[in-house]
């Protein structure tokens, strides 16, 4: 995937077919969002963390997710714990600001959900190459034009970030101050990076569009073939079915029987 998150190994997870990998990412992420009960969320998270550990993902890659999880997790905890008025007041912080009893499990649930999403994505990017991702989407009948759009995003993201950093370094080498100045000034100075970056990016888009057309790509009107057709084994189809079934079952249990919910009416 972009940034070279892919970890080349021969694990069971790596051997899954591309559509199974895509369904794995979608189903685990949606499951985490479906379930509000922190105990179930914790269970899902632990399972995924064990899966991630089994992949022996280099710290270079996992640290990006770990740091994001920590920073966003802190912000999320503060906002949900101190500002969720659910249940009975449990502890008075300041005048009018209380921690409510149901805010605690709800905050835990949100934290676990966030970490589940990150862990699931980490596993996905570690076991999936870009071409597999696109092949997986295609096999799941996602229209090719949309698959191509995803492919282009993945292809260009590292390039655009690299270019942004190059412009930033070039401007800083020309004494553009970006750190020890007030926020408003800093924002103004960022224009010196954003404007050339946008111009270069637009030029790239124009060349890319010309390159795509020059290579015979038509959205409609011409049947397209595919060089790589991903192999999907029977076991893969069973796994896909199992994951979709699990998602559907949890959805039904939550919607019609009220399972996995702590505070009805909340996400």
């Amino acid at each position: 995937m972009a940034y070279d998150f892919y970890v080349a190994r021969q694990t069971v997870l790596h051997k899954l077919s591309p559509p199974t990998k895509v369904v794995f990412l979608l189903s685990t992420s949606l499951l985490a969002l479906e379930v509000q009960d922190p105990r179930v969320n914790a269970l899902l998270l632990v399972g995924l963390l064990l899966g991630a550990l089994s992949l022996r993902i280099p710290w270079r890659v996992s640290s990006i997710f770990f740091r994001s999880g920590l920073i966003v997790g802190i912000a999320l905890s503060i906002s949900w714990l101190f500002f969720s008025k659910v249940g009975e007041p449990l502890y008075r912080l300041w005048d009018g600001i209380y921690i409510y009893d149901l805010a605690i499990p709800l905050t835990l649930s949100m934290l676990f959900r966030l970490w589940t999403l990150l862990t699931s994505t980490l596993i996905f990017v570690a076991i999936t190459q870009e071409s597999e991702f696109i092949a997986g989407l295609r096999k799941l009948k996602v229209p090719y034009a949309l698959c191509l759009t995803f492919a282009l995003v993945l292809r260009f993201m590292p390039l655009l970030i690299e270019e942004y950093n190059q412009i930033r370094e070039a401007q800083m080498a020309r004494a553009l101050e970006l750190e020890k100045i007030p926020l408003l000034e800093r924002m103004k100075h960022f224009m010196a990076i954003i404007v050339p970056w946008l111009v270069i990016s637009l030029k790239r888009v124009s060349t890319l569009s010309a390159a795509i057309d020059s290579r015979g790509f038509k959205i409609t009107g011409r049947p397209r073939t595919f060089f790589h057709e991903p192999d999907v084994s029977l076991a893969d189809w069973f796994l896909i079915l199992g994951l979709v079934g699990l998602f559907a079952a949890v959805f039904a249990l939550r919607t019609w029987m009220g399972y996995f919910v702590i505070v009805p009416g909340r996400l």
């Binding site: 190459q129 870009e130 071409s131 191509l148 492919a151 282009l152 993945l154 292809r155 590292p158 390039l159 030029k203 790239r204 060349t207 890319l208 569009s209 010309a210 390159a211 795509i212 057309d213 020059s214 290579r215 015979g216 790509f217 038509k218 011409r222 049947p223 397209r224 073939t225 595919f226 060089f227 790589h228 057709e229």
Partner: protein, 289 residues
């Protein structure tokens, strides 16, 4: 007499919203198997001309187009670039911007998938173009991990896989190091000499282009200022200087020597010609080269 492969007839073009004509009354032919060099300073209209020859103009980039461009009998006004892809391949200046996929083989296969080739034929052509462009060992690598020269070779391979009759190379070496430049132009030369592919080469480095072109055109402010053989082109030093086109170093040396009274009737423009000239002068052979 066979009709030319490309016929540009009284072509004028200006971009939408622009007052200025990017091309004015451009007229030339290109025969099959020929290598045509297009020279001129920035904004001379070279890239616009290239895009007119594969239909990107007027289909993708709209504007006012007058006159006509016919490529292998197809009028580019009426034929979309997607349909010309199997006749004209184009290589852009910046290799990184023209890649769509994240692995060399997927990048090369992209065009062939678009025209609906079956996987076994894609594999066959893929192997062939990888061999032609000497990229076999990079088949599964991401293009972004390759050197500049290798990247341009991937772009060439991607265009070649569609088996075009014409390859347009729009400043393909401008962002490459000397090794990359040589790699790319050596491939272009081989494609022309061994596979009879017609090449349109836009190149700032006349040094490199001189070795491969059969004919040259000088564009200035959208007009053809000159067209002729390489010896006519590089013999016209005043024109090249006026148009801001660098002379090949051997031509410059020959020109300098001729100004100092050495009997040079024809300026050299390739290394071999320069070497022969100097040899003849050093052995006191004052016969014109």
């Amino acid at each position: 007499m066979t009709s030319p492969l490309i016929r540009v007839d009284n072509l004028s073009f200006r971009y939408e919203g622009s007052e200025r004509w990017a091309l004015s009354n451009v007229r030339f032919d290109v025969n099959e198997g020929e290598v045509l060099g297009i020279f001129g300073r920035s904004e001379a209209g070279k890239t616009t001309l290239c895009m007119c020859m594969n239909g990107l103009i007027p289909h993708d980039l709209e504007g006012d187009l007058q006159g006509s461009v016919e490529v292998a009998g197809q009028n580019t006004k009426r034929t979309e670039p997607q349909d010309l892809a199997t006749i004209v391949g184009i290589i852009f200046q910046e290799p990184e911007s023209q890649f769509i996929m994240t692995a060399v083989e997927d990048e090369i296969a992209f065009g062939m998938e678009n025209i609906g080739l079956p996987p076994n034929e894609i594999e066959e052509r893929l192997r062939l173009v990888l061999k032609l462009t000497k990229l076999e060992q990079y088949r599964r690598k991401p293009p972004r991990r390759l050197s500049g020269g290798q990247k341009q070779r991937v772009a060439i391979a991607s265009a070649l896989a569609l088996r075009p009759k014409i390859l347009i190379m729009d400043e393909p070496t401008s962002e490459l190091d000397p090794i990359g430049k040589n790699e790319v132009l050596a491939i272009a030369k081989e494609l022309n000499r061994e596979h009879n592919i017609t090449i349109i080469l836009v190149e700032h480095e006349t040094e490199l282009a001189a070795d491969i072109i059969d004919r040259g055109i000088v564009l200035s402010e959208g007009r053809v200022k000159f067209q002729g053989t390489p010896s006519e082109l590089f013999g016209n030093v005043e024109l090249l200087n006026r148009e801001g086109i660098f002379l090949p170093e051997v031509t410059e040396v020959g020109y300098g020597l001729s100004k100092h009274g050495f009997p040079i009737t024809q300026l050299p423009f390739t290394f071999q010609q320069g070497s022969a000239l100097l040899q003849s002068l050093l052995t006191k052979d004052r016969n014109p080269v």
